[in-house]
């Protein structure tokens, strides 16, 4: 690909599924530059066909290996797959080491699979800021299923549920107390529970723990008539993968027939609207209000202003400057 191609010129090749165009468009989306917004808007008009599936779980639970297995199973059914694999950025240098591909290498020469790594670059919640634009681009490029693998999450990184049609929560044996640790937040968002690494002898314990937990809570039935299944899998042997794929397809059917899919699409749209507004505001603050931010911080440090009051002053200044 030549040099400095304007983003709009990439739209048509993206829609035709050209690999290098898809890749470059995602780079533009990650940069967040203003001059790619028109192209992203054009791409957004061509979305809505892909089944978007989120895969989340604690670090080391086997998400990447599971994604690899899922991709192979989807390919066996002649469905194409786009993957967005997210890893954390360093809070100090801003850099990252993205290693999700290590487990996915065998997929890369298959033209029906597209894998893109993304660093969180300071975004909290388990996703990167450009993740959903990345999903749009893969969707518009014609991938049948788009998988988002979140960063390894702790207790509260549940943004993925506001971003996808189907959420998988992966647990694994040997992480012991981690199950306890995440049960209040992350475990509640699952449409499908997956226990990975079931080739290990202690896996039955994890399955039992989770089943008990599900039974204790408000039950594993969701409002639109979907029973949250728990599926033991092994990415080593492939055990449970056909069942998992059937559950993912079954969930989409349940979403579609109940009308819940439209609800979720609306929720995703609304979340993205609010997130975008937040991002625009934060960028404008940081770009144009450094001085005011520093002054107000000084006042807070001196004990003269409370955070909420300081924020009101900042917003008022911002509004008065915006008035025509």
């Amino acid at each position: 690909m030549g040099r400095a191609i304007p983003p709009l010129a990439l739209v048509q090749p993206v829609l035709e599924g050209r690999l290098s165009a898809v890749a470059r468009m995602i780079t533009h989306a990650e940069s967040g530059e203003e001059d790619c917004q028109e192209a992203l808007a054009e791409i957004y008009r061509h979305t809505g066909k892909a089944h978007v599936v989120g895969i989340t779980g604690v670090p080391g639970s086997g998400k990447s290996a599971l994604v690899t297995r899922l991709c192979k199973a989807l390919r066996a059914g002649e469905r194409s797959v786009g993957v967005i694999a997210i890893d954390p950025s360093s809070p100090f240098s801003g850099g990252s080491i993205l290693g999700d591909r290590i487990r996915m290498n065998e997929l890369v020469t298959d033209p029906g699979v597209f894998i893109r790594s993304m660093a969180t670059r300071g975004a909290l919640g388990g996703l990167a800021r450009a993740s959903l634009s990345g999903v749009d681009i893969l969707d518009a490029a014609g991938y049948d299923v788009v998988l988002i693998e979140t960063v390894g999450v702790g207790q509260d990184e549940i943004d993925v549920v506001q971003a996808v049609h189907t959420t998988l929560v992966v647990s694994a044996p040997g992480l012991g107390d981690d199950i306890q640790a995440i049960k209040a937040g992350v475990l509640e968002i699952a449409d499908i529970h997956v226990v990975g690494k079931c080739d290990r002898s202690d896996a039955h314990r994890t399955v039992t723990d989770l089943k008990n937990m599900l039974a204790m809570g408000h039950g594993n039935s969701q409002g639109y008539g979907w029973q949250v299944p728990l599926i033991p899998t092994s990415s080593v042997s492939g055990e449970g993968i056909p069942e998992l794929l059937a559950a993912i397809d079954g969930h989409l059917d349940a979403l579609t027939s109940s009308g819940e899919l439209e609800q979720r699409r609306r929720r995703i749209a609304q979340t993205r609207l609010l997130k975008s507004a937040e991002n625009i505001l934060r960028d404008q603050f940081q770009r144009h209000h450094d001085r005011q931010i520093a002054e107000l911080t000084d006042r807070m440090m001196a004990g003269r202003t409370h955070p909420h009051a300081a924020a009101q002053i900042l917003l008022n200044q911002f509004r008065s400057e915006r008035k025509p």
Binding site: A4, L19, S90, S93, G99, R101, I115, S117
Partner: protein
């Protein structure tokens, strides 16, 4: 992206390089060991990387680099700078540069020099 290609199991160096690039604020994608030239070239295009660094300590450089350069050309990835690292004879270094490898960083290159070299390559390429 940093890659190990072929039957070369030495990855201590590549991990140290990845770490120092990370600490310089770069996103580093590591492919893991034993990749093929096809896998590495395709992955680099999918990730739309600025630089593809291949570490070789097995002596296979004169086979691996020409193959990767060819594959990148075929896959619309020719604006990706290819960099070599590891241990290799001087005459191979000049030959590889003639073929289109942008930079070869041999053993004993200080970490800061690696970082600066990556920055220079991206600067020289310009926006894309």
């Amino acid at each position: 992206m940093i890659a190990k290609v072929g039957l070369d199991g030495h990855d201590r160096g590549v991990k140290i390089v990845a770490r120092c690039l990370r600490d310089a604020g770069m996103d580093v994608i590591y492919t893991g060991l034993h990749r093929t030239p096809e896998e590495v070239a395709l992955a680099a295009v999918q990730e739309d990387v600025d630089i593809l660094g291949i570490s070789i300590l097995s002596g296979a450089q004169m086979t691996v680099f020409p193959r990767v350069l060819d594959l990148l050309r075929d896959r619309h990835g020719s604006d990706i700078a290819v960099v070599g690292g590891g241990v290799m004879p001087d005459e191979d270094v000049s030959e590889l540069k003639r073929m289109g490898v942008s930079e070869i960083l041999l053993q004993d290159t200080p970490p800061q020099a690696i970082v600066e070299s990556m920055r220079r390559l991206v600067r020289e390429r310009g926006p894309r």
